[in-house]
């Protein structure tokens, strides 16, 4: 129930991000689209790991260690997404550095002014 809503939300964010990457002319807008699509992907992966009515895989007073397997959600998607978010930040930083360097060469942020690879 809950996770189907968040799955739809993640897919919608992914599609909006791809649309922004395809249609916008401004390079920084494209990177913003990438970051939106990134968030959408992470929401999809986390929703696939959700189990109905279960709670976070951390043992404390609320979850006893004896029957923890019946009470917790899947920890593997959380672990994968955790590292993916940090990598996403690093990739965004590299892309923005490239954009700053490209701007220094051509003095333009519009994708129409970069035609070296156009045929």
């Amino acid at each position: 129930m809950i996770s189907s809503y968040t799955l739809i939300l993640g897919i919608a964010l992914l599609i909006i991000g791809f649309y922004a990457m395809l249609t916008r002319k401004n390079l920084i807008k494209m990177v913003i689209g990438f970051s939106i699509a990134d968030t959408g992907t992470h929401i999809i992966i986390v929703s696939l790991g959700y189990l109905r009515g279960k709670t976070a895989p951390i043992i404390d007073q609320a979850v006893s260690a004896v029957n923890a397997v019946q009470k917790v959600v899947d920890p593997i998607p959380s672990a994968l997404v955790l590292t993916a978010i940090v990598i996403g930040l690093a990739v965004t930083a590299v892309m923005l550095s490239f954009i700053v360097e490209m701007y220094r060469k051509n003095k333009s942020l519009s994708i129409d002014d970069y035609q070296e690879l156009k045929w």
Binding site: M1, I2, S3, Y5, T6, I8, L9, A12, L13, I16, G17, Y19, A20, R24, N26, I28, K29, V31, I32, G33, S35, I36, T39, H42, I43, V46, S47, G49, Y50, K54, T55, A56, P57, I58, V72, V73, P77, S78, A79, V81, L82, I85, V86, L89, T92, A93, L96, S97, I99, V100, Y103, R104, K107, L109
Partner: protein, 82 residues
């Protein structure tokens, strides 16, 4: 109660995403993208992944916005030079 929160936050996130695509001003787009990350961390918390929620709260609200602002500043400074 929890489905109501998810639907409300989801509608706001989608509206923020569409606004981030269509805003004329780059700074407004960056702030909208920050809103998406902020609310996504509440979604992660509801889905039972507090570790991911903490990562998203610290990276999405703080560092991503700041890195975009740094790049925007460098670009804008160059524009005002010529």
């Amino acid at each position: 109660m929890i489905p109501v929160i998810i639907i409300g936050l989801g509608v706001i996130m989608l509206a923020a995403a569409i606004a981030a695509v269509y805003f004329k001003s780059l700074l407004a787009s960056i702030i909208s993208a920050g809103v998406i990350s902020l609310l996504a961390s509440v979604i992660y918390l509801i889905l039972g992944s507090p570790d991911v929620a903490m990562t998203e709260a610290s990276i999405g609200s703080g560092l991503t916005t700041v890195i975009f602002l740094f790049a925007l500043h460098r670009v804008r400074k160059g524009k005002s030079d010529d």
